[in-house]
Symmetry: D3
Subunit: 129 residues, 6 copies
């Protein structure tokens, strides 16, 4: 019952232009289902791609670090699709098994200590104000 993905062949010209830019930018032969679903709302497709392209580009942080941050958020939110696609992107950008293991260890501890802070109702230290 969910909407079907929209393939390149069935897409309108504006959607196809976004797909083409994704494929060219990432040097891949097709776009992921994520984009094929956003295509149901072309304005969201175009805006999301423009934003992601800008945000994930190399800058003060390199692409590997950005992909690991993306994984950290997706794991915290429990978004399976996002975890898998961005783990894949991080590995493509050079993430090793050891780095993935440390990434998840930090994500786990942060989720734990976030709750210890809430639970004990820790007040801000003077020096953090």
């Amino acid at each position: 019952m969910p909407l079907p993905p929209i393939d390149h062949a069935d897409a309108t010209p504006d959607v196809r232009a976004v797909y083409d830019d994704i494929m060219a930018t990432r040097n891949v032969p097709d776009v992921n289902n994520f984009w094929k679903m956003l295509a149901h709302h072309p304005a969201t497709l175009a805006r999301t791609w423009d934003s992601l392209k800008e945000v994930m580009a190399p800058g003060a942080l390199d692409p590997l670090v950005k992909e690991m941050i993306f994984v950290a958020v997706s794991v915290t939110n429990g978004c399976q699709y996002c975890i898998r696609s961005h783990e894949a992107a991080a590995r493509k950008a050079g993430m090793t098994d050891a780095q993935f293991g440390e990434l998840l260890a930090v994500v786990g501890m942060a989720n734990e200590t976030n709750r210890l802070v809430h639970g004990y109702q820790v007040e801000l230290d003077e020096r953090l104000k």
Copy 2:
């Protein structure tokens, strides 16, 4: 009505030993309120410190990247104390304003696209299975 922080002077010897190790490891003159609250349950204090010391130590990822991942999780969970203390730790480890800006931009986009994936009920691509 929440429990009060337990200062070094009022701590039991086992708690004090953890405080001393935190101060020595981090080269700081006192421990944060976080630790002074965990001290109400000494087993949690000792275990959490042992775990954090291990997880946040330099390894396959450097401490700055680890602190930024910690911030990413804390921002996603909305834990103010955690954001502030780990933003401070990340800055101490060298994070620039530009890096902080890019970190938050990625965290924002990840939280957005996580929900677009949920909302459109995106199926895993074959290549991600």
Copy 3:
């Protein structure tokens, strides 16, 4: 290993009475698995149905808006079953593809800006206090 859904034919009279009211109220030939699972705790079944019937009834907000709000929460929480069943209810109440697209766009942006607010630790403006 999870509990099995309880069908109408196997239900106790009090559970059956709730099922009958759901089917009559919604003019459907059977109840969803959601209700067939709650039936394992009849007090929860009855209370949840009474509450939902009251809360989702037309009032100051019309049923379509209420279903879209329900979808917004379910997408934020990543509850697949809830997204699908309330997307279906929203479409039955008249939601178009364009409205669904805009709904998800707002949900995505809200999840993003919620985290930008946390990340930058934005203080309340005077006029909002």
Copy 4:
């Protein structure tokens, strides 16, 4: 700018009736701000009180366990007001400092391992299916 709490003296008779039932049931001289805010929507006030009274009553689980479960959820969601009011209720029901410490330790570990499960994308074991 948020709505003001509605005190007993200023409440409509239907709201006052709910307040009176809360005070009688809990044997307290006044109701909390939570109820004084819900009073802005009397249907929500009445329904929420009826539901909470039913759900938190002694049953297969005793009130202390129920309050601790309430705290566990509130800590996970980071709801400060809820944590404080239900920690207070749990202490009134007999919760000791040691029990509170263990409660938070479990909540912390559960939040951590939930993310390790997501991050490693752990498949259900056959025996759990």
Copy 5:
């Protein structure tokens, strides 16, 4: 210790241009602290404003409905600043007390039933697949 808000007078020309567009579009004499914090990363400021302006504009959904969806997400995530600023925006767009009450009632029930679905591990009905 958090970064200070950047006022119009202290902003760079590109930041000032965004502020001016926000003030003109919304017909307000100044921008909120939210924008004054994003100004620390001008690319995020410009992108977020462009996105919000597009997403929140009247379309298939009217601005009031969009603001209520924004509030629903912000309440679910517990973002106080976001709740207050978008509740204000919703009221400006015409939201009545009764509508606000029903909005929160739906948000509450959705958050409850989302967890009942998770807890009972409800399987998708055939008709929802």
Copy 6:
């Protein structure tokens, strides 16, 4: 594409030692997939097992209460694997259907009232400060 679980036969000696301790402590013939996935990062495996063993041991709270708290958190976070494995552990520790029903009822109500508190922006009562 996710990593495969690591069976006992294929595990390194340090991983095997953890598996053996889990099997001995819990008196089970094999470890769950959770542990077989953590084994990809032996430090995380060892630390997580040590922590869980300590935290879930009988203490001021009995194991059944601890497992129910674990379920409450996992339901709130929507972690299916965690719900199922800890529901199983809770049942093994004696949880009845009636207790499970009440547990989920409390979890549902807590998630609802957490959002009513956020939505109405309830201020802390004097007596809770």
